[in-house]
Symmetry: D2
Subunit: 189 residues, 4 copies
């Protein structure tokens, strides 16, 4: 077991992917040990790290990051979590690089047009591409482009993690919190 707590100590540059969303990505794509993931847009490396724990041992996560400062943060985080042999950070534009054959592609980055085509080509048959889309319009475009490329969309969702205060004096949901992070769109090759 790894611990969610260990992620709390990590550095945060850009907005991090939340566990509520990462857990759905792993589950509904059917990820498991030995799988290969291509992750576009490392950010602080939270998603790549979580997926890294799931594909270990024997699997691999290749994560692309264009911005140098994010890449540095992400790399430090992979090391802190002991994932440096599972997660490979590739600095630079994912569009221009060669992608390995893979089981899952996660795209948390703007301009997904060319990315989806590269994803389709890199994925094994039955493999899954997941988009992280803040707006509904992006969700729609992501799915439409996917369908044109030959993907089969099988799930579009938003995930709520509604935490409760369980106390002697009374139980209730927390008063304020996160209402929206992203829409998730799952496409199968």
């Amino acid at each position: 077991m790894f611990t969610i707590d260990s992620f709390r100590k990590l550095k945060r540059g850009p907005q991090v992917v939340l566990f509520k969303d990462a857990s759905f990505v792993s589950c509904f794509s059917g990820l498991q040990s030995g799988d290969v993931v291509v992750d576009v847009g490392s950010g602080s490396g939270f998603l790549a790290s979580y997926l890294g724990f799931i594909v270990s041992p024997g699997g691999k996560v290749y994560t692309f990051e264009r911005r140098e400062e994010f890449a540095r943060i992400a790399r430090q985080n992979f090391e802190k979590l002991g994932l440096q042999n599972v997660v490979s950070l590739i600095e630079g534009d994912a569009v221009r690089r060669k992608w390995p054959e893979c089981d899952l592609v996660t795209i948390d980055a703007g301009g997904g047009d060319v990315l989806l085509k590269k994803a389709f080509n890199a994925l094994k048959p039955g493999g899954v591409a997941v988009g992280f889309l803040p707006n509904v319009e992006q969700l729609k475009v992501f799915q439409e482009k996917g369908v044109k490329l030959g993907f089969k969309p099988f799930k579009s969702t938003e995930v709520f993690d509604r935490n409760w205060l369980v106390r002697e004096q009374g139980c209730r949901p927390e008063n304020t919190g996160l209402i929206h992070s992203v829409f998730l769109c799952f496409l199968r090759k």
Copy 2:
């Protein structure tokens, strides 16, 4: 990768644990390959199966089921998914059996009193017990009993998987669906 679709073909006896909840259990407990799980209340075996995919290879899920007809359904499902070497079904009352040392205990069964004590004793330090509680009162009792035994509660939540229809003519959430399954309560030893 395994596929969520393969679960669709499984037999269903009692109410099955949903992927939305199973994914949170796996993620927030920090489950990964090689871990050992004790699952109390197999039901149709959906949760044990999902966790079985996550702990493979090298890990193990021991799942207890008292009712013969559920045990038969669950066993068939483990075989259909090719998990017979990962998931061990133990017919009978979990309270009376010896439990292996484990990383995660999942309890989807009534009368959790003695179960939580057995869970505490079986778990490795840092291990996690997760309760599936339909009602708020059960959530409260589960956490209170856990605290008395020495567990540290770190998350109580309800998970929503709000599916969207993404269509040329317009995007919107599905009109009707599941509003509530269970509350999840996470305790750490």
Copy 3:
């Protein structure tokens, strides 16, 4: 007081507006006794009836319905509720009719383009137009058109009415139910 129960006995033709949505329309537009409402798309007359109770006495609801069979159902419902002097049903196309000066316009109908212009012209300064929009795209178009006409959008929302089972043996939300009806868009002149 009127009773929500009295609506249960009404005839239902098309999809009815729900109380959860009608209550928000009344509240966030600031409707009260004496106000005048133009309601486009009577349907079964549920929204017009609820608003009729709020504007009584002294107020008036003019409700347009193009389809003869819906108009008949709505008219019967207004009579059953004793609202025949408060709610006036106008059979025919709202686009081609003259509208009275009003405080609130509610639009639960397709093709809102010309309707919004008529709404703007009929509304008193400070008056409110509310759109019932099933899809996000419609929500966006409604607001954009409104802004072009000079409306000030002040609220776009979706309303959840999450009912609970409160029982001796335990409290929990209902298991299944409505997840989505419409998005509401509020524009002020």
Copy 4:
């Protein structure tokens, strides 16, 4: 029409009742012009004010507040909204005062035991008592006590007002916000 905006300029002492909840109270109790309301726990007077607009003209809201500083704030707010002839503030303990015959009782106060009995006696047949309950345990006790007194519970709910950002560049729900205020419990005499 009154405007929601006018409430923005009011003074706020204690936690105010939200429009999302006030609108449900008005709608599901069937409140309308001419009705009489007893409101226990004025707080800053937001609920009494909203209900005051609904029962005008001809109706009346009697609102009890024990704490002097809240009573002063509430009174100022009623005056700012021009409701001084509709809403009567009664300083002191609602338990010890005589209540007028009424159509609706709203209880946003601790120790509802004696209050519910007084509510039952003051309500006309068919009248409604609504509790504002932060915790599930309070919701349960409120309903149970109501049933013992002869009330018929007809709705327990939590209301979500999920606001959306509708923008040229993309539509999405607001990222953070209110997740929980209170549970509402509706009892009919």
